[in-house]
Amino acid sequence: MIIDHSNVILSVKNLTANVDETPILKGMNLEVKAGEIHAIMGPNGSGKSTFSKVLAGHPAYQVTGGEVIFQGQDLLALEPEERARSGIFLAFQYPLEIPGVSNLDFLRVAYNSKRKHQGLEEVDAFDFDELIREKLGIVKMDASFLSRSVNEGFSGGEKKRNEILQMALLEPKLAILDETDSGLDIDALRIVAGGVNQLSNPENAIVVITHYQRLLEYIVPDYIHVTANGRIIRTGGKELALELEERGYDWVLEAAATGVAS
């Protein structure tokens, strides 16, 4: 929801970044305020996923210019774990499998890392168990998922639900969902989107990266941005998604190239 005079959570200015010396982001600009849901759409290779990874601090991406201010602090100066603890959450497009680490242990270690950062006492196994069982309902997950290794042998839908479970637990200020809808059947999509909607509130913000308008029927964005060639070339309201669905991206790209708004 768009709230008048709400705080700016994320401010990205002229962000440029490389992967292996190849420029991928070529001047991203984005401002996200508390309460808002933003969607980033765009053709393959336009820089959407790179943008999410740069925000989360993936070491394979080198920032070459610009600035990112997250809740008043220089995000780019922080290590990935510090970004996470201060409230950035990236839901991975391909969540990793970690055989040998139980999902429950993983979630508890992550949760306690954040507690420690906030100067709060760590939660013991017993109390954590209670807490996590509450959160399971948000993504309609069975408790048996907790005793399994992180994402090991999970279906695509289960992995994405596990990402949203982590989001529910860590209560980020800014959640970035990187193609969370890709590869989901309609039931899983409803569960995932339902979870995200439950977690959206006037204090936090969500950036949804997606290829498909389908997701935006369930998570309704306040703004839609279209990326091409490493920058945002167009910003509109939720109706832009329908237009993109109907007409594809070419008209936006052409309009951007000629400088004419249609």
Binding site: E81, P95, G100, S113
Partner: protein
């Protein structure tokens, strides 16, 4: 007149060979000093003495020792264990006691039986358990035909152990007896770093599981004090028809120790054997693990974990000799290698014509945590039978950057993330151990080691 001229390199070689010959002769001399009064034992020892005398001290020019350089041992003069044995209290060995086996343990200090530390009251009366001298008489007679009778007993270090054979841990599980209580065979070395003499310690274990019996066994090597010693251990396990042995071997010798250990297992028809071998101690260690199938349809599971750091060298040489049809073997050996440490894995599986319908799988996975860490891995399958299923594989890798990042992105420190991933790698093997307290101890040990890694890396 003829003049014999040898090139400098030749003379250097011969000097080195002489040095090794002298060293082996000295080892033999030291080994034979351990006392015995038993005539049959003396005969066994004399026979082994001849076997040692026929052989030479291994060098890296021997194919079997290509990657394992024993020259550090060659530079360590050895003496016999001092008599009387160092006296230890129960408190002193408390960190090694397993709650599940506190009344089913035999303790040996520097290779000698320590009756005041041992207790077997939790075990059923039917079990024959003790050491060579306490098991004189008929019980001892039942075990005698098995001692030093495994194939491979001629190998130089195995024979060396036999030349000094005066004490041993003995376990006989009679026909049809299945014991749930795990048996803990604990071998403690007490070498202080101020001691001027380096002791040769030669632990010996003999386990016989009779028909339809079942037992769980922990063979455990540890140290009190951080001095140098040479542990040359031999364990022989005989598993009769349809019997099963679950064996966990923990080698946590002191940092300056040398450890060369043999596990020889003979498996009769439809018997089942599991070995979980954990190697994490000693500056230089080698584990020979040999399985001999003596009947059809045997099941063999070998899990191994080698955990090395600093300048440690850790070697596992396994050999599974199948000679009958329908055998199943599963082997998983993992190595975690940090700093400048060096791991060696050589896994032989022999499947001759007679071993049709064998199902054999072997996997060796190695995790290198530093750019100077090294592993030499050599799966070695010799398959003659034509109707078998045999697979093998070896992988060498580092921690995945993407996995570390995934954990970091959830707020977990990079050092904690690495620790978690190293532990996860080890967990697959540790989780196989049947004793919960030992699983916990080993898990903590892995975590402590990877915390050492945190200090080194950040």
């Amino acid at each position: 007149m003829s003049l014999q001229v040898s090139s400098p390199s030749e003379s250097a070689l011969s000097t080195a060979a002489e040095k090794r010959a002298i060293y082996l002769a000295n080892l033999l001399d030291v080994s034979k000093r351990s006392p015995t009064t038993s005539p049959w034992l003396k005969e066994l020892r004399d026979h082994a003495t001849v076997r040692v005398q026929e052989q030479t001290f291994p060098t890296t020019r021997d194919e079997e020792w290509r990657f394992t350089d024993l020259s550090a041992l060659l530079q360590t003069p050895l003496v016999a264990v001092e008599q009387p044995v160092v006296s230890l209290s129960l408190e002193a060995i408390a960190p090694f006691i397993l709650p599940e086996a506190k009344a089913s343990q035999l303790v040996f200090v520097n290779g000698k039986y320590a009756p005041h530390l041992s207790c077997v009251t939790d075990l059923p009366e039917a079990i024959v358990i003790g050491n060579l001298s306490t098991l004189a008489g008929t019980d001892g007679e039942r075990l005698r035909p098995y001692l030093a009778q495994q194939p491979g007993a001629e190998e130089v270090f195995t024979a060396l152990n036999t030349t000094g054979l005066s004490d041993a841990a003995l376990v006989l599980v009679p026909k049809g007896v299945a014991i749930d209580t795990p048996i803990h065979l604990l071998f403690i070395a007490t070498a202080s770093n101020t001691a001027s003499n380096t002791a040769l310690i030669q632990p010996r274990v003999l386990v016989v599981a009779e028909t339809n019996s079942a037992a769980t066994l922990i063979e455990d090597y540890g140290a009190i004090g951080s001095g140098t010693y040479f542990n040359n251990s031999v364990t022989e396990i005989w598993i009769a028809e349809n019997a099963q042995v679950n064996h966990t071997r923990v080698q946590r010798d002191g940092h300056h120790a040398f450890h060369i250990g043999k596990t020889a297992v003979s498996q009769a028809r439809t018997s089942r054997y599991t070995c979980n071998a954990m190697s994490m101690g000693a500056q230089l260690s080698r584990h020979h693990l040999e399985i001999y199938q003596t009947g059809e349809q045997t099941e063999t599971t070998l899990n191994g974990l080698t955990l090395l750091h600093g300048d440690q060298i850790g070697d596992t040489h396994s050999a599974i000799a199948l000679t009958h049809p329908h055998g199943t073997t599963r082997q998983l050996h993992k190595c975690i290698i940090d700093d400048r440490a060096h791991a060696i894995f050589n896994g032989k599986v022999f499947v001759p014509k007679a071993a049709q319908l064998t199902d054999a799988g072997q996997l060796n996975r190695n995790l290198l945590l530093s750019s100077k860490a090294r592993v030499d891995t050599k799966p070695q399958l010799e398959i003659v039978a034509d109707n078998v299923k045999c697979t093998h594989g070896a992988t060498v890798g580092q921690l995945e950057a993407d996995e570390v990042f995934y954990l970091q992105s959830r707020g977990i420190d990079v050092s904690d993330a690495r620790q978690l991933l190293v532990y996860a790698f080890a967990f697959e093997v540790i989780d196989q151990i049947a004793i919960a307290s030992l699983r916990r101890t080993l898990a903590e040990l892995v975590q402590c080691r990877s915390m050492g890694l945190r200090k080194a890396k950040i």
